[in-house]
């Protein structure tokens, strides 16, 4: 009897280990610099300090991407991850940007030819460093969160950094329909193209080939309206599907899906985020009051904003 029980426990543990280590590829590939730049193409008048930050983030992402590329290459050489290579080719097919492909190819060749051994040692080191960094960062974030608990407003929003607009409550706002202003709006989901292995294949038919659901366009809005109001009106006018849910605890509407691409469709950390003038606000879209000439971008993330450079908004406060 006891022997049987022990055998059963071992069996279950073995299954769990297999499931843990062999549970599919969950790595998220961040957006490349070119893709990001193309996103941010038109507007130049964002504040300089802000630009620096975003460039830094881009560079970081680039580094990570390189490492990941080399990793992929290696696994291919070992020939044990056939699936991944398939997905990669799929991603390449869909990707319309030649530059990007070229770059990727170059990277691959370089990685192949250049000293793989050195790369390996480097990689291990960077990995360890990254892990350490990650731990430290996590501890830091948790400590800060504890410190900030009194500073949060009644909708659980952390203090907004200096120079950024404070959230306003949509209940208090009266919209002045006589004063029309303009902003630019775009809706993109390019990061899915890099992460096709995570994507829900049922939704393939609604995924645009270039990842642009709503190309950058000037839109008119009334004074006092929020980012959410503009998105809702434009999506309805252009007959693009969009679903949202009111979340009273954050006093804001949550965008569940645009163009039938929903949250969790590209991994469990995926969903829609928004960026205004290059900054990801750490509060909901219904609480962001627009100014004249603002640049709104709705961007799909596969990794809580880390792949599109917007992780501060998530770690600082909930979207």
């Amino acid at each position: 009897m006891r022997k049987k029980k022990i055998q059963l426990t071992l069996f279950i543990m073995a299954i769990l280990t297999i499931a843990f280590f062999g549970g599919g590829n969950k790595e998220v590939v961040p957006l490349s610099m070119e893709q990001m730049e193309k996103d941010a193409g038109i507007v130049e008048d964002t504040s300089p300090s802000n630009n620096d930050i975003s460039i830094e983030a881009n560079e970081k992402n680039e580094d990570i991407r390189d490492i990941e590329n080399s990793e992929k290459e290696e696994s291919k050489l070992q020939g044990d991850l056939v699936k991944e290579s398939e997905e990669e080719s799929l991603g390449l097919e869909i990707d319309s940007e030649k530059k990007y492909i070229d770059k990727k190819d170059n990277d691959k060749k370089a990685d192949k030819q250049k000293e793989i051994k050195r790369e390996q040692t480097n990689k291990i080191e960077t990995k360890e460093e990254n892990a350490k960094k990650g731990k430290n960062e996590k501890a830091k974030i948790i400590a800060q969160d504890k410190k900030n608990i009194d500073e949060k407003d009644k909708y659980l929003t952390d203090p907004v950094p200096e120079g950024k607009p404070e959230p306003v409550e949509w209940q208090d706002i009266t919209i002045n329909k006589e004063n029309t202003l303009t902003a630019t709006l775009s809706v993109t989901c390019k990061t899915i193209l890099n992460n096709m292995h995570l994507f829900n294949m049922d939704k393939l038919e609604v995924l645009p080939e270039d990842g642009i659901i709503y190309a950058t366009k000037k839109v008119v809005f009334y004074e006092g309206e929020s980012v959410f109001d503009v998105l809702l009106r434009e999506m309805q006018e252009n007959k693009i599907h969009m679903e949202f849910v009111m979340t009273p605890i954050y006093n804001s509407n949550y965008i569940a899906g645009i163009n039938n691409i929903y949250e969790f469709d590209c991994g469990e950390l995926s969903g829609w985020m928004y960026r205004v003038n290059g900054w990801f606000p750490n509060y909901g879209a219904s609480r962001y009051q627009l100014q004249d000439g603002d640049k709104i971008e709705w961007i799909y993330t596969c990794d809580l904003g880390r792949d599109i450079g917007g992780d501060w908004a998530v770690t600082g406060g909930e979207e």
């Binding site: 049922d202 939704k203 038919e205 609604v206 007959k239 899906g257 039938n260």
Partner: protein
């Protein structure tokens, strides 16, 4: 209402049949499959319960179906075909309406199957099948399934007894009625507790769950059962092959998509239809046989 001869078959056949049809109608959302399952469940429930079954279906199942079909598009806005917008700004889509109707049908079908299950799989059959393997669990299961009808019966008995001494809920002013009602409930609870202990004691004293104990009813797995069992396993196999080939499901979001209908899929539909209709076919065949014998006398 006719005599249900499907329930005279061996319990293992009844049980396999119900498990198969209930699981299949829960998982296979393909319109053809849903239609087949609904029609069969409806026919069989009418056959078993007659007029009261029809009344139950129309009075409770129809409003439930409509309600469930309406409630889904109010909360689910996925789908590519936008019909119109709600006042809040969320879209109502064709796909979500179809999904609501489909889910409602599935729900009703399963309820109908369970109502048939309850009248075919009596507790002695269930205990015959599982009394040895899982004695405690099967006893609890069959007792739980009997709870509601049994309590309703007992409440009627208590209420009639109270009526004799003028203390029923239909007697006196409103406060008195409430008092009487609470009194009846308290008698009911006392009886239920006492009854549970008595049942447990009596089962124990009769050696329930001990080895070598026989069942209340004795069933024999004869040739008739063997034939039906073989046919059933074959049909279930074909339907499962269809499931493995993705013939039995439908994708609702973002757009409705079903596998193209081929000769093979028609074959699967036919075998599913025969599987669901087995009790009905048996009953009709039995009735014809009976008529034939009757006319010869």
């Amino acid at each position: 209402m006719m005599r249900d001869s499907f329930s005279t078959f061996h319990p293992i056949i009844n049980f396999t049949y119900f498990i198969a049809v209930i699981v299949f109608s829960m998982f296979f959302m393909h319109p053809a499959f849903q239609g087949i399952a609904f029609i069969s469940a409806f026919t069989y429930s009418l056959m078993i319960k007659g007029k009261s079954g029809l009344k139950f279906n129309i009075l409770y199942m129809l409003p439930m179906l409509l309600f469930m079909a309406m409630i889904n598009p109010a909360f689910n806005h996925a789908g590519v075909t936008i019909l119109f917008y709600l006042k809040s700004g969320n879209p109502i889509t064709f796909e979500s309406i179809i999904y609501g109707i489909s889910a409602a049908f599935m729900f009703i079908t399963v309820i109908l199957w369970f109502s048939c299950y309850n009248s075919v799989m009596t507790s002695d059959k269930f205990i015959y099948l599982f009394g040895r393997v899982i004695p405690a669990l099967s006893l609890i299961f069959s007792m739980v399934l009997r709870f509601v009808p049994r309590y309703i019966e007992q409440i009627k008995v208590i209420s009639n007894a109270q009526k004799c001494i003028g203390r029923d809920i239909s007697q006196g002013n409103i406060i008195k009625r409430a008092k009487n009602g609470i009194k009846i409930l308290s008698i009911m609870a006392t009886w239920a507790l006492e009854n549970a202990i008595e049942t447990a004691d009596s089962m124990k004293s009769r050696g329930y769950g001990l080895p070598g104990r026989t069942s209340f009813s004795i069933f024999r797995f004869d040739n008739r059962d063997k034939v039906i069992f073989g046919v059933m396993i074959g049909l279930i196999g074909i339907v499962l092959v269809g499931a493995a080939m993705g013939q039995n499901t439908i994708r609702f979001f973002p757009s409705i998509k079903i596998v193209n209908i081929t000769v093979f899929s028609v074959l699967i539909y036919i075998s599913y239809f025969i599987l669901c209709m087995i009790p009905v076919i048996i009953n009709i065949q039995e009735a014809i046989k009976w008529k034939h014998i009757e006319s010869r006398i």
